[in-house]
Symmetry: C2
Subunit: 171 residues, 2 copies
Amino acid sequence: MGRTDFGAMNCSIARTLDVVGERWALLVLRESFFGTRRFEDFLQRLGIARNVLSDRLDRLVQAGIMRKERYQDRPERFEYRLTEKGIALNDVVLAIKAWGDRWTDSAGNPPTVVRHLDCGQTFEAVPVCSECGGRVHARNVRAEPGPGATADDVAGWEERLEAAAARRASR
Amino acid sequence: MGRTDFGAMNCSIARTLDVVGERWALLVLRESFFGTRRFEDFLQRLGIARNVLSDRLDRLVQAGIMRKERYQDRPERFEYRLTEKGIALNDVVLAIKAWGDRWTDSAGNPPTVVRHLDCGQTFEAVPVCSECGGRVHARNVRAEPGPGATADDVAGWEERLEAAAARRASR
């Protein structure tokens, strides 16, 4: 079985993972949010192999998440900076960090803290509803087909509901 | 160069990626949040190879994110359900979905929507500060060494600051 094309799936999560669903890509982004811009600095801060770093930066540039900008002519040297599309990934990185701070070896003793400059306090990111501002979590949300759902997607939702009903009936 | 052990890095983001930093693992979790529990249902809904699904479920169980529960004796059959640790990953999945809804082919036409049952509206997740409730984004937050930072980590932060100062000086 060949490598599945996540970008071709009709799912916002799969499409996001198609561009950033790889461990090193997300650490390169973390490092970018920490202010790192130059190849040699990424290399040193991440402990990543040169060819892997080069590949991940190229992919992030191709995906429009980073841009490559010349800062020196002779020899030619480039900086890698986040675009608006890349800056928006901060929400994802903060959510990953909040979970890691709570559920991994970091629990109770985070190696890094993040300060909210508006209030001056260190914080963890909490997801709230864009409409009412209330906390959203797994138990008070429900997914359903959206405007971009295909007939297949809708059939998929029906299959999930049927599977759940069959489970209940078999108990 | 062998596969780097992300779990050994002193970073909550790397430690999280060590357990869920893989495309299929996150789609298995998405499917779990959609209510899927059984191996054959994951297989059908995801279009994933049997051996890959088996591997990802085993890893998620080993990481304490899912638990395997027998629901039938002859033949023996199991359900895969999220633990509390797994349920907490909803925050990460919602952040990934919000970005994908905005920045991928899903833009303006999301295949799936999520409804907040408390207010009844479909929403996107917005990260706010746990301390003051204000919106957090890349431009109003700053990372710094936390209580779990090692001397090496602190040196790393100093290197980043020096690199930024050198950049400014060379312009």
